[in-house]
Symmetry: C2
Subunit: 520 residues, 2 copies
Amino acid sequence: MGRPATSERGARSGRGGRGGRSGRQERRQAAKRPAPAYITRRIAYYDLLGEDGLDLIERHADRILGEVGVEFRGDQEALRLFKEAGAAIEGERVRFEPGQVRALCATAPRQFTQHARDPARSVEIGGNHTVFSPAYGSPFVRDLEGGRRYGTIEDFRNFVKLAYLSPWLHHSGGTICEPVDLPVNKRHLEMIYAHMRWSNKPFLGSVTSPERAADSIEMCRILFGDDFVENNCVILGNINVNSPLVYDDVMSGVLRTYAAANQATVVVPFILGGAMGPVTPAAAIAQAHAEASVGVALTQLVRPGAPAIYGNFLSSMSLRSGAPTFGMPEPALAYLAVGQLARRLGLPLRCGGQFTSSKVADAQAAQESADAMMPALMAGTNFVLHSAGWLEGGLTMGYEKFVLDCDRLGMMHRLLDGLALDDNAFAMDAFHEVGPGKHFLGAAHTLANYQTAYYEPDLADCNSFEQWFEEGEKDALTRAHELWKAWLEGYEAPALDPAVDEALEAYIAAKKDSMPDAWH
Amino acid sequence: MGRPATSERGARSGRGGRGGRSGRQERRQAAKRPAPAYITRRIAYYDLLGEDGLDLIERHADRILGEVGVEFRGDQEALRLFKEAGAAIEGERVRFEPGQVRALCATAPRQFTQHARDPARSVEIGGNHTVFSPAYGSPFVRDLEGGRRYGTIEDFRNFVKLAYLSPWLHHSGGTICEPVDLPVNKRHLEMIYAHMRWSNKPFLGSVTSPERAADSIEMCRILFGDDFVENNCVILGNINVNSPLVYDDVMSGVLRTYAAANQATVVVPFILGGAMGPVTPAAAIAQAHAEASVGVALTQLVRPGAPAIYGNFLSSMSLRSGAPTFGMPEPALAYLAVGQLARRLGLPLRCGGQFTSSKVADAQAAQESADAMMPALMAGTNFVLHSAGWLEGGLTMGYEKFVLDCDRLGMMHRLLDGLALDDNAFAMDAFHEVGPGKHFLGAAHTLANYQTAYYEPDLADCNSFEQWFEEGEKDALTRAHELWKAWLEGYEAPALDPAVDEALEAYIAAKKDSMPDAWH
């Protein structure tokens, strides 16, 4: 199992001494870095259900797969593969014997490496690792000055740069926002290029058609080399199931494209409870289990051993309006169960994110995001797609929300790192030095440990009321606005081999020339 | 073990049918109520540490108690009791053999009932129960219109009324805010009276001197009757240890007063890591364990079998300013360990709360509050003192924060209630009825379950951007302001026997007449 080159624990050995303003700055950096390329969790999973409960969910998933089945619409190749594997085909409906889908998933790896162009940024997906990736798919962006507006390729590049700059995001993401100023049939080329050019972190490719998925992989061949791509995972494709119980030919075609190239698919049932699935969480979990595992099974029929991620996207519904709700307790419980199901199936899990239905980065947004993320992490999620920036049920990518979320991702690094229980941590010398009724501020143990003892947030204001008042009574939203602007001002692009850059640009130009712009 | 008269699960049987505006209102109430008098958790605890780790913490706590000891300053009676029990006394320093303090705690009950004047509002403290109580002790209050200002008895009464009105607070709290417009030596009388008069939920008494604690108990004798108070717990006293490792005579005197009257003490080490304890969490946990258990031991020496709560208050520190920080990952890990330690000791646990250092109810406040509360609940906390209203490291009680926190407490009720796995929850009929590619909105199962399937928040705005925009782009803070005002407008006091009311007022008047006002 892979381990990060520089773990947080490795950075914990403290050094004494105090300094002036620049000294404080250095200490702050020392306390925060080095951030790992991905998280290796050191705390236990939270097991919500016993084996009986998990058996019951799996049995109901098997019943859904056997009694109702899943439709693969317009994809003869998928139907042919399932038929060959022994499934019952009736038109486009595919039904399975109990346990059959589980058995087909067995060849998918429990853990795999997604390589980045900077090897130090490659990530381990699966096992006891967690990878944080920015939010995905919003048509709108929002910031405190400009308000809510359609996203552009400029916004897209900004978010790639911000994700590159955050020490707590391990992944560059995919469609961080939709660049609606570019033609629909060509924007994927500019998105993939932005990930390759303005970041060195791993990323996701296009899923809007099998051809665009193939473009994404082709650009990876230019960046990484043909042989490397044939033998290693360098790109992920995030495939949403057309829940309930349907894969359309675009989704299954894209899935087959990535799997055939030995690249990883993330198979994600997308269930708003009460709409795309039953309103009771247990049923939605069983449905999601059926849908995700049948998608993973298809990847293995295309190419046994191709990496695949068992995904889950489950939300609740407002009784008042029927609108999807986020950060609510019922999906939180579901995430905990889903973590256990993924481990039983032996697959990496994508789940959770910093979700909210709030339109702005206010108390609602933060509360819902925290309550959606924490259970996903307790559940052992390996890949968190919507880690930063999500607003308005995913319709808007927020600049301020993005940096607020990143700060909390840093906290989650510490949480998953667990509690040190060595002699230094127990500080017996300090108790003898200080004794009853005195304070520990100047104790040798404090001086030796305070730089690294606690997570130092970027955005939390812990100052006195008076200081905060004098500094203009700035709330978190205002401070977050200042922070992302400062980050972008300080951005410097990672180096890219000019020959590779030229080859990428040539590929994009040729592709663009090969077809007229299409806007829908 | 006690069970709530009306559990949430009992309220889950759905009814079909849709109506107009009043129908929606009814459904909303039906889905939210009846709220239980306290929570009976149906999900597992999260165990962060193995038995080895817990042994290690207990051994270090024993070393602190044996090698360093605890001082009881100015309390000869406490020293006498510990000497009689076999502890080593040196001046005011008390030292213990390994395991001695643990043995002294053994007579304290694992669980007890705190009675309310309305028996339906009595709470079970300990076991698998959780009780939510408002924040405690702020000199300042804040609301969106009036800003930050010193608290008054009017504010105090407002918060008692708001806590009474929230279905998700089980407890009326104690010093919800300091009524600084009243003399220091008399304000406890008006605070206790407010809890008794404007709420029917259980409450905490005064801890600022043994005499004021005695007043609090005396007023309970008027409300409940002498015999009832002698044989039942009707009031709690929250005693902060003068960490590190000191009890002053006020704190130990108050503790002895409550214990002698068979009333419950909450013994709370108050440790800002790096100041009142070492900067490393493991040491702070061991110190807190030593401090809390020695306080509980004293209650048992005063009166074996008196109810006592093992408390914990642990925060981290900002590297930049030395200010305490809240909602950070290190205390979160500590809470998880503390839950395990309390269970091993067989005592009810007070831990956590919706903490923040933010000055306003913004994204920082919500994020920190969520991250401080969730681990406390995963840890199995039985009594959460600072459940609602906390701002600015406890210096300010916020009106908007209060109702935002209450809404989230409702969500936590659902989370702790767990996942239903019965036939209705698995909804197989719905899958057969709907089938692939259709939606579940009108399915019989949805109609039968949608009223109670999901928690319906008071304050989350899940509407479309357009609707939210037309309604004035209100953020959570603005909506919270409207909500608490509406709550107070609709407040109606619970009935109180006029004879009891007169007796309470006579007691207060006599007490006030017996001494001049003191303002410090």
